[in-house]
C-alpha cells in the first residue's frame, strides 16, 4: 500500500511470523510482493509454457505433414493436442495477459502497488503450481487426452481401453484427474487475481484518474477481471463434478444412470465462451495503447471503445450454445444463440473501426510494436469474419469439428491475442528493463511470424471446407488434403523460426543495452512518466491526473499542436512537494506465505488419485501446509 509511515515504528519487534526483508538476490523472487517483479515472473513462466505448447504444436504438424504420419500414435497424439490447447490457453495466453496486468495496471492508474500485494504473489504461485501439477502427468501415466473441452461421456468412459495396454481405466482416471484438479488450481489463481485487479482499479486510482480517464488497457483489464470473476466458479463446479464422476462414479454426466452429458457441455461453454474474451480483451487493450502512440493521435472514439468492451463482456455470457449447434438443442435455442452470436460481432466491429479511425490521418511511425498492432487488427478481422460464419447454424453444422474451426480460432487467438501480446512485449520492454529491443530484428520477427501464421492457418480453412476433421491423428492419401497439410506444416516451422528471431533479439539487445530513457516512444499514458525500470514505489510523487492521455497533455500543452515540452518524471503540479525521491515511502514487506499456501494445493490434489490411507495422508499434508500458510499470512505483521 501507499502508506508513508515512520520507519522507526516498523521495526518494533520481530515476532514468530516475521516477514523477510531482502528485496534483491535470487531468494527475493520467491518472497516478492512487488507487482513489477510478479509481472516479470508471470511473463517468463508464461513464455516458457508458450515454448512448450509451441513444441507440441510442431509435433502435431510434423505428424500431419504427410498422409499416414508415423511420428505419434493415436494415444500420444490425443495427449499432445490436448496439452497444446490447455497449455496455450491456461498457461501461456492467460498468464501472459496477467503479466501485463500485473506490471502495468498500477503504473497506468498512478498507484504504488495492487490492492492486495500478497494475494498477487499467491496468484502467481498457484498458477505455477497448477502448471507443474498438470505437466507432472508426463512422469506418471500420460497426460490428459480428451481435448481442452474434454466432453462427456468420453471424459467418463475414456478411449478404447485396449489402446492403453493393461490398466486402461486407471490410466484414464488419472489423466482426467490431472485435467480436473490442474484446471481447478489454475482457476483459483485466476479468481484471486480477478478480485485483486477489480479492487485495484476501483480503489487505487491516482487523484483525478476518473473511470473515463483510464487508459483503454485498464478498462479491458477491468472487463476481463469481471469475466474471470464470474466464469471461474462455473468451470470450478463443472470440474468438481467431473472429478466426482471419474473418481467415485457419481452420475453427473452418466446417461446410463440418469445423468446428462450435455450438462458438461453447457457448463464448460458457459465458462468457455467468456474465456475466449478473457483471452482476447487484454490484447485489444494493448493495441488500443500502441496505435494512438504510433499514430500520434488520441484513440478514436474513446467512449465507444470502452463501452464496446463492456458490451462484449456482457454479451459474451449469452452466446455459449453456438459451440453446441450440432448437439440438437432445437431450432428455437439454435436461432436465439445464432442471433446473439451475430450481435456480439457489432461491438467487436466498433473496435475494429475505431482502430482504423485512430490510424486515419495520423503521423504513422512503423516501429515493431505498431506492426504487431496493425497485424492484430488485420488478422483478428479475418478470424472475426469466419466467426460470423459460424453463427449461421446450417453453415456451422457443415463446419463443426473440421479444420475450418481450427483455422477460425487460431486467427482470433494467434492472429489476435498472440500478435497483441508480442506488440505489448516490444512496446513496454524498454519500460520494464530500461533498454530497447532491436527494431530491425523485431521487424524480421513480425514479418516471419505474419507469413508463417498465414501459411499455417490460412490453408486450414480450405482443409476444413474439404471435410478434414479435427483431432484425427492421421489421414489417407488421396483425400485432397496433402498439399495444404504440407503448406501448413511449413508455416508452423516458420512461426517457430520467428520465435527464435525474437529470442535472438532479446539476447543481442541485452548485450548492447541501448538505454531507453523514460519515454522512448513519445507515449501518452502515465507509466512513461517514471523511470525505466520504475523504482519499487513506481512514482516518487503520485501524479495528479487532469485528462486522458495525461502525459501527452503535460508534454504538449495546447490544442493546436503548440508544443510545450515538460520533462518526463516531473509533475508540474507537484514541484513544491518533490524532492523526497522515494525516501519514507513504505512498501509492503516480502512474504513467504503466498508460496507456502500455494504449495499445499497440488499436494492435496494428488490425494484424489489414491484410495484409503494414501488419499488421507496426501490431503492432510497438503491441507496442513495450506492452513499453516493461511495462519502465517493472517498473523504476520502486515503493512498492507
Amino acid at each position: 500500500m501507499t502508506a508513508i509511515a515512520d520507519p522507526t515504528k516498523a521495526v518494533a519487534r520481530r515476532p514468530f511470523f516475521a516477514r523477510p526483508t531482502a528485496t534483491t538476490g535470487p531468494w527475493s523472487w520467491f518472497t516478492t510482493v512487488d507487482h513489477k517483479k510478479i509481472g516479470i515472473l508471470y511473463g517468463v513462466t508464461a513464455f516458457t509454457f508458450f515454448i512448450v505448447g509451441g513444441l507440441e504444436a510442431l509435433l502435431i504438424r510434423s505428424q500431419l505433414v504427410r498422409p499416414n504420419g508415423t511420428i505419434l500414435d493415436e494415444n500420444l497424439y490425443n495427449q499432445i493436442f490436448t496439452m497444446h490447447g490447455l497449455t496455450m490457453i491456461f498457461f501461456a495466453v492467460m498468464p501472459l495477459s496477467a503479466a501485463f496486468f500485473n506490471y502495468l495496471l498500477p503504473l497506468m492508474i498512478g498507484a504504488r502497488d495492487v490492492a492486495f500485494p500478497r494475494l498477487n504473489a499467491f496468484s502467481y504461485w498457484v498458477f505455477l503450481a497448477a502448471g507443474l501439477f498438470l505437466y507432472s502427468s508426463i512422469l506418471f501415466e500420460g497426460m490428459p487426452d480428451g481435448g481442452w473441452f474434454n466432453y462427456a461421456p468420453l471424459n467418463i468412459i475414456g478411449p478404447d481401453p485396449l489402446s492403453l495396454a493393461g490398466a486402461g481405466p486407471q490410466i484414464h482416471q488419472a489423466r482426467m484427474l490431472y485435467y480436473s484438479m490442474g484446471l481447478q488450481i489454475a482457476g483459483i489463481a485466476s479468481l484471486a487475481s480477478a478480485v485483486n485487479f477489480i479492487v485495484t482499479i476501483l480503489n487505487m486510482r491516482a487523484p483525478g484518474m476518473t473511470l473515463m480517464r483510464m487508459p483503454v488497457f485498464v478498462w479491458m483489464t477491468f472487463v476481463t477481471s469481471f469475466l474471470l470473476l464470474f466464469a471461474m466458479p462455473v468451470i470450478g463446479i463443472a470440474l468438481w463434478q467431473l472429478m466426482l464422476s471419474v473418481r467415485w462414479e457419481v452420475p453427473f454426466f452418466d446417461a446410463t444412470n440418469g445423468g446428462d452429458p450435455v450438462l458438461w457441455q453447457h457448463m464448460f461453454w458457459l465458462f468457455g465462451h467468456p474465456e475466449v474474451y478473457i483471452l482476447i480483451l487484454p490484447a485489444f487493450g494493448i493495441v488500443s495503447e500502441i496505435l494512438p502512440t504510433f499514430a500520434r493521435k488520441p484513440i478514436f472514439g474513446y467512449a465507444a471503445m470502452v463501452f464496446s468492451g463492456i458490451a462484449i463482456g456482457f454479451m459474451g455470457w449469452g452466446v455459449w450454445a453456438h459451440h453446441m449447434f450440432t448437439v440438437g438443442l432445437g431450432p428455437v435455442a439454435n436461432t436465439a444463440f445464432a442471433l446473439t452470436t451475430m450481435f456480439i460481432a457489432v461491438p467487436t466491429g466498433v473496435k475494429i473501426f475505431n482502430w482504423i479511425g485512430t490510424l486515419w490521418g495520423g503521423q504513422l511511425r512503423f516501429k515493431t510494436p505498431m506492426l504487431f498492432g496493425i497485424g492484430l487488427v488485420a488478422m483478428f478481422t479475418i478470424g472475426g469474419l469466419s466467426g460470423v460464419t459460424h453463427a449461421v447454424v446450417p453453415h456451422d453444422t457443415q463446419q463443426q469439428d473440421t479444420y475450418y474451426v481450427v483455422a477460425h480460432f487460431h486467427y482470433v487467438l494467434f492472429g489476435g491475442a498472440i500478435m497483441g501480446l508480442f506488440g505489448g512485449v516490444y512496446y513496454w520492454w524498454p519500460k520494464i528493463f530500461g533498454w530497447m529491443l532491436d527494431d530491425r530484428l523485431g521487424k524480421v520477427h513480425f514479418w516471419t511470424m505474419l507469413v508463417g501464421f498465414n501459411l499455417t492457418f490460412g490453408p486450414m480453412h480450405i482443409l476444413g471446407l474439404n471435410g478434414m476433421p479435427r483431432r484425427i491423428y492421421r489421414y489417407d492419401a488421396g483425400m485432397g488434403w496433402d498439399l495444404w497439410n504440407l503448406v501448413s506444416t511449413v508455416g508452423a516451422f516458420l512461426i517457430a523460426a520467428s520465435i527464435l528471431v525474437f529470442m535472438r533479439n532479446v539476447a543481442s539487445s541485452r548485450r548492447q543495452k541501448v538505454p531507453a530513457g523514460n519515454d522512448p516512444w513519445d507515449a501518452r499514458t502515465v507509466e512513461w512518466m517514471t523511470s525505466s525500470p520504475p523504482p519499487p514505489h513506481n512514482f516518487d510523487e503520485v501524479p495528479v491526473i487532469t485528462s486522458r492521455d495525461e502525459l501527452w497533455h503535460r508534454k504538449y500543452a495546447g490544442d493546436d499542436g503548440e508544443k510545450v515540452p515538460v520533462p518526463a518524471g516531473a509533475s508540474q503540479d507537484h514541484g513544491e512537494h518533490g524532492g523526497h525521491e522515494g525516501h519514507g515511502i513504505h512498501m509492503p514487506d516480502p512474504s513467504y506465505f503466498p508460496l507456502i499456501v500455494a504449495a499445499g494445493m497440488p499436494i492435496a490434489a494428488y490425494g484424489t488419485f489414491y484410495e484409503g490411507p494414501g488419499m488421507v495422508i496426501l490431503l492432510a499434508i497438503g491441507g496442513a501446509i495450506t492452513l499453516f500458510g493461511i495462519f502465517g499470512w493472517v498473523l504476520e505483521p502486515t503493512a498492507e
Binding site: A194, V195, P207, P233, I237
Partner: protein, 204 residues
C-alpha cells in the same frame, strides 16, 4: 479533489483514503461474494435440472424431513443476528459482549453443521448415497459445498475470538469483523435460497 489536501492527508494517515472511499478488504469481500453467487448458481442449476431424476432411489418428497431442517435453518438465521450483535459490540468497544456474541455465532453455525451431518447420516442409512442418482449427487454436492462454506466461516469466527483474546481486535479495526460478517451473512442468504429450492418447493 484538491490536490494539496490529498497529499497532506496521505502524509498524515497510515492508510490513505481509497478512490471509492470503501476500504480494499471490504470491497474485495464484496467482489468475492459476487463470484460466489455464480459458484452456488451453477450448483443450484444442476440441482434444478436433476431434481426429477431419482432413478430407483429416494425422491425429494419421500426423503426430506422438513420440520427438522426448518429448525436448523432457524438456527443458522439466528447466527446472523448474533453476528450483527457482535459487530455492534466491537464497534462500541464492549469486548466482553463481543466475545459472547462471536462465540454464539460460531456455536450456532456449528449446531447447523452438526444438524446437517446428522441429516446426512439418516439419509445414507435410508439408502440415499451420493452416487445413487443424479438427484442425490446434485443434492449432496450443493449442500456439502454450503456446509464447507459454513465450516470455513466457523473457523474464521473462532479465529476472530482467539485474536480478540490477544487484544488485537478492537473498535479501531472492527472492520475485519464486519468483513467476516459479510461473508457469514452471504452464506446464510444462500442457505435461504437453497432451503427454499430444495425443501420448500415440493417436487417429485
Amino acid at each position: 479533489m484538491a490536490t494539496d489536501a490529498y497529499t497532506a492527508k496521505e502524509a498524515d494517515v497510515i492508510h490513505p483514503e481509497t478512490a471509492l472511499g470503501i476500504s480494499n478488504p471490504k470491497l474485495g469481500m464484496w467482489v468475492f461474494i459476487g463470484s460466489e453467487c455464480l459458484f452456488f448458481g451453477a450448483m443450484i442449476s444442476t440441482y434444478l435440472l436433476y431434481v426429477g431424476r431419482t432413478q430407483d432411489g429416494p425422491t425429494p418428497v419421500s426423503i426430506f424431513d422438513i420440520p427438522f431442517t426448518s429448525v436448523s435453518t432457524f438456527i443458522l438465521l439466528m447466527s446472523s443476528l448474533a453476528m450483527v450483535l457482535a459487530l455492534a459490540a466491537v464497534q462500541a468497544g464492549d469486548m466482553r459482549r463481543f466475545r459472547i456474541w462471536i462465540l454464539a455465532t460460531a456455536l450456532l453455525g456449528a449446531t447447523f453443521l452438526s444438524g446437517q451431518f446428522y441429516e446426512f447420516t439418516i439419509f445414507v442409512a435410508e439408502g440415499m448415497k451420493v452416487e445413487t442418482s443424479p438427484f442425490t449427487s446434485s443434492f449432496y454436492m450443493l449442500t456439502s459445498f454450503h456446509g464447507l462454506h459454513v465450516a470455513i466461516g466457523v473457523l474464521m469466527l473462532v479465529a476472530l475470538w482467539a485474536t480478540s483474546m490477544g487484544g488485537r481486535i478492537g473498535p479501531q479495526n472492527s472492520e475485519v469483523v464486519e468483513n467476516i460478517g459479510l461473508y457469514w451473512h452471504f452464506v446464510d442468504i444462500v442457505w435461504i435460497l437453497i432451503f427454499t429450492v430444495i425443501y420448500l418447493i415440493p417436487v417429485g
